[in-house]
């Protein structure tokens, strides 16, 4: 019997504005058998999404099928008439996109969108479809399945929406699912749940799947077969176990090397302390901040509460936590973009004005911000030398030859060729743009660099290179870093101190080795346990542990009484943790945990 899906010598080209064609997919062939999950893995630009979408006979606007076939049940879906394609989509092949938030229509109810496809295709009537949807909500462990369909997309959380997208795809009982990076935008804790839900539902329904991702650790949990892609060509294709345990191709090995080991003590750089001075480079004391109108000096939406952090000169403080915990807000307060409602920010021991507008030029110069998205942070109409030249003029008063010399040095520092000075950001790759973004901040000769998720948008290999660059820069310049990331592995390999934020509070902080080894705050423990490992069977093992049980996706709220982590905590003490604010417990020098449990209980 033929395979469910046969991709046969598929070629796809992109048509440029001038009408010329650039090959995107260069003759790719592979099969998907019934009940099998095939992972397409590669960096951005490898053509993985384009190939996956071809299973639906679809290309993004601007792309064209040039040759080859994609046969579903032996029938080519590319040459299919459009009405037949329409009937096949949603019914035989269903698609799950990366961002559920953008994929759900904000104006229609969840129920209508989940049941739309099977009802339109005449597979089920509305009532049967509602019934089926409800079963899927249950299978995906979504809350309140009876009434979920009547709600609108903005009324459920991101992780729930991601699972609802799975329900939407599965409602029509498709033979093949196409999943396009369905967990990439999620927190590790949410990712586990969504992965688990996907895996069990795929097994239950017996459908086959194409799973597109750049994350090898995720692939290891879900795939039977792995196709490694680079620049539109297959580099390696084989069973999951073989590709992961005995990679046969160089590129696969490079991908594997870029996967950081699970966070553990002893991964950080050895710090020399040569740049240290008496006072910390930057310090925040009793800091509270938030957004919205202020009532009695307290913002309506409170984000940070009573935060104390000191960043020693030449050191790197990693700030970690799930989305919504206040990481970016902390950086915004430090930079002065968001004035704190309470507490103070000290630079070199001197108090900084809360608002950026009131700070003087040398104070501005010393604290620089590196934004997450280099794409939006760099002005597309300015050349690189203009982007780097502006801070040199403004802060250092450099002009003419001196400025040019310094621009060349900066490009050198971020390891880019000097002729990049004459280019525009659009001519650069994502990783190169992020290097320019970094060079722009370094141009001011700052003392503190605030890096907000600077490698989150980059591919793993490119991201790993940027981290290596940051390490060299730190050694060379003695700049202190505040390194914000949701990725604990990255923080573990780069920072020397870690601050764990939860619901706007520092629940644990200390040296990397202290934070990443017992005693743990239960939340730190959950974060560590949730980082996927590059080995088969990790997901199943992890789901058994109590940490994973606590990962259940809930709205994180700032609490006035008790511990904010109370309702997720596996070791919460009823009557204490929900009533009293936990004390700060010190363990040795500079390691502290905010918890009701004492040291002995932690060590058990």
């Amino acid at each position: 019997m033929a395979s469910l899906l046969e991709v046969d010598q598929l070629k796809i080209d992109a048509r440029k504005d001038d009408g010329s064609l650039t090959p995107i997919v260069k003759g790719v062939s592979f099969n998907v058998e019934r009940g099998e999950v095939v992972a397409l893995i590669g960096e951005s630009g490898s053509g993985k999404t384009t190939i996956a979408l071809s299973a639906l006979g679809y290309t993004k606007p601007g792309l064209e099928f040039t040759s080859g076939e994609v046969r579903l049940h032996g029938q080519d879906v590319i040459s299919m008439p459009s009405e037949e394609k329409r009937l096949m989509r949603g019914q035989k092949v269903a698609y799950l996109a990366q961002s559920a938030a953008a994929t759900f229509n904000p104006a229609l109810t969840i129920g209508e969108q989940v049941t739309e496809s099977p009802v339109l295709h005449g597979q089920l009537n509305q009532e049967e479809a509602n019934q089926r949807a409800m079963e899927l909500y249950r299978a995906l462990e979504l809350p309140d399945p009876e009434n979920l369909g009547k709600r609108y997309p903005h009324q459920v959380s991101g992780g729930q929406l991601q699972r609802l997208m799975a329900a939407m795809a599965l409602c029509g009982n498709p033979d093949l699912l196409v999943l396009d990076e369905p967990t990439t935008a999620l927190d590790v804790t949410t990712q586990i749940e969504v992965l688990k839900a996907f895996k069990s539902v795929i097994k239950q329904e017996g459908s086959a799947a194409i799973y597109v991702t750049h994350d090898l650790s995720v692939v290891a949990q879900i795939a039977d077969d792995i196709v490694v892609l680079y620049a539109g060509e297959i580099q390696e294709h084989g069973g999951a176990e073989q590709v992961i345990n005995q990679p046969g191709h160089d590129y696969t090995r490079r991908l594997m090397n870029a996967v950081r080991p699970p966070p553990a003590a002893g991964q950080g750089d050895e710090m020399t302390g040569e740049h240290e001075r008496e006072v910390p480079a930057l310090e925040v004391r009793n800091l509270s901040a938030g957004y919205g109108k202020k009532i009695n000096g307290v913002p309506v939406t409170r984000v940070l509460k009573d935060v104390n952090i000191a960043i020693e000169r030449g050191h790197t403080v990693g700030v970690i936590g799930e989305s919504g915990c206040g990481k970016s807000t902390l950086a915004r307060v430090m930079s002065g973009l968001l004035p704190a409602s309470q507490g103070e920010v000290l630079l070199d021991g001197d108090q900084l004005k809360p608002d950026l507008k009131d700070r003087n030029r040398s104070e501005l110069q010393k604290v620089q911000f590196v934004f997450q998205m280099a794409d939006t942070a760099l002005n597309p109409r300015q050349r690189i030398d203009q982007i780097l030249g502006r801070p040199l003029e403004f802060y250092l008063g450099l002009r003419g030859g001196e400025k040019r010399k310094r621009i060349a040095e900066l490009l050198d520092m971020v390891e880019l060729p000097q002729d990049f000075a004459g280019r525009y950001p659009d001519e650069l790759s994502g990783g190169q743009k992020q290097r320019i973004n970094l060079a722009r901040a370094l141009a001011a000769s700052p003392e503190v660099l605030l890096c907000d998720e600077v490698i989150s948008a980059l591919d793993s290999i490119v991201g790993a290179n940027v981290i290596e660059l940051l390490k060299r820069l730190r050694k060379k310049t003695g700049v202190s870093f505040v390194f914000i990331s949701h990725d604990l592995s990255t923080v573990a390999s780069f920072a020397d101190e870690i601050v764990v934020l939860y619901a706007g509070r520092v629940v644990e902080q200390g040296h990397v080795d202290q934070v990443l080894s017992p005693p743990y705050h239960p939340y730190t423990r959950l974060l560590i346990a949730s980082v996927p490992e590059l080995r088969l069977g990790w997901l199943e093992e992890t789901m058994e542990t109590q940490e994973a049980q606590a990962g259940i996706d809930r709205v994180v709220q700032i609490t006035e009484i008790g511990c904010p982590f109370y309702d997720r905590c596996p070791i919460a003490i009823e009557g204490t943790c929900d009533k009293e604010i936990p004390p700060i417990r010190k363990f040795g020098q500079s390691h502290q945990i905010e918890c009701h449990h004492n040291e002995n209980e932690f060590l058990n």
Binding site: R86, L87, S99, P106, E116, S117, R151, H154
Partner: protein, 322 residues
């Protein structure tokens, strides 16, 4: 949440109207000469001027005069016409002057709205359903041409073709007030056609642009990949999200139909409200100008307010809070 948003919007509307009334009052007082001057003419003695000013309350400080004017306005008293045009309008009540003109203007605007809104939205939808097709290019080209041509030229061209060359319709739309149904429609037809052309062009372009913008969003791609037919994608998935922007363009155009069509009214000698205001400016009939200006501004403010409320109500985030 929804009710709150609507109440807030109404409150903003009322405040806007008050501010507008102050601006109109100050604006008209800045004009050289006052009503006493106009009534008595250039040969008047200072004594008679002073006496008339006292009689008319013009010697009061500005804020008292403003409050008096506003109070009268709110109680529906638009005041008396204070200027003569040689046909004895001095002493005519302004409401009497405005009433027939307002009826004419509303009649014309109503006709135009009735025809142009459904037609324009339909054509915009049609163009957006087949982007780049021959229909789309024809519609885009025509609407762009119409928008680029000044409105009086559109009127002139229509007169030349329909009235002069073909002789189907009268070239002016004079109304005595006694027209019966068919005569009325015949008289209104030329200005209506002109305005429908101009107004539709804008709404068509906006509808097309808004729908195309939404058609490139990820949730539409998802609908395509779910196998939803094109017709349903546009009518169900995209139209609901286009209500906000489109209603705003429609409201702006309708407000323009009330106050901004003076050129078209002049070309066709159509006795509408805008023309009355221009006459008022020429005869320095300040109370008349103020009253007309207030009507125009109130129309704008109220129509935009309705449009905003429509987009508030069509927003599921406000209709169904978390």
């Amino acid at each position: 949440m929804l009710v709150q948003a609507i109440i807030k919007r109404i409150f903003i509307g009322v405040v806007t109207l008050l501010v507008v009334s102050i601006i109109i009052f100050i604006g008209t007082s800045l004009l050289p000469g006052d009503v006493a001057n106009i009534i008595l003419g250039q040969m008047a003695t200072p004594e008679s001027l002073a006496a008339l000013r006292e009689h008319l309350g013009l010697d009061q400080p500005p804020h008292t005069r403003y409050l008096m004017w506003l109070g009268n306005l709110l109680s529906g008293d638009l005041g008396m016409s204070k200027a003569g045009t040689g046909v004895g309008t001095v002493g005519t009540e302004i409401s009497v002057m405005i009433q027939p003109r307002l009826v004419n203007t509303l009649r014309l605007a109503g006709m135009v709205a009735l025809i142009s809104i459904p037609m324009a939205m339909g054509l915009g939808l049609l163009a957006s359903m087949y982007p780049g097709s021959r229909i789309d290019r024809a519609i885009t080209f025509t609407t762009l041409s119409i928008i680029s041509v000044p409105d009086f030229l559109v009127a002139m061209i229509l007169v030349m073709v329909l009235a002069v060359q073909l002789g189907w319709l009268p070239s002016i739309a004079y109304m005595s007030g006694n027209e019966t149904g068919w005569q009325l429609i015949r008289a209104l037809l030329m200005p209506t056609l002109t305005l429908v052309t101009i107004v539709s062009a804008q709404i068509i372009r906006m509808t097309r642009a808004t729908i195309l913008n939404i058609m490139s969003s990820p949730y539409i791609e998802m609908a395509i990949l779910k196998g939803v037919p094109r017709k349903r994608i546009i009518l169900r998935h995209s139209l609901l999200n286009t209500i906000g922007p489109i209603v705003n363009v429609i409201a702006l155009n309708m407000a323009w139909l009330i106050g901004g069509v003076v050129i078209v009214e002049t070309v066709f000698a159509y006795p509408g409200l805008a023309k009355l205001m221009i006459d008022g400016v020429q005869t320095r009939d300040l109370p008349l100008v103020q009253a007309c200006a207030m009507i125009f501004c109130a129309t704008y403010v109220i129509l935009i307010m309705i449009a905003d409320m429509a987009s508030i109500i069509s927003n599921p985030r406000l209709r169904h809070p978390k």
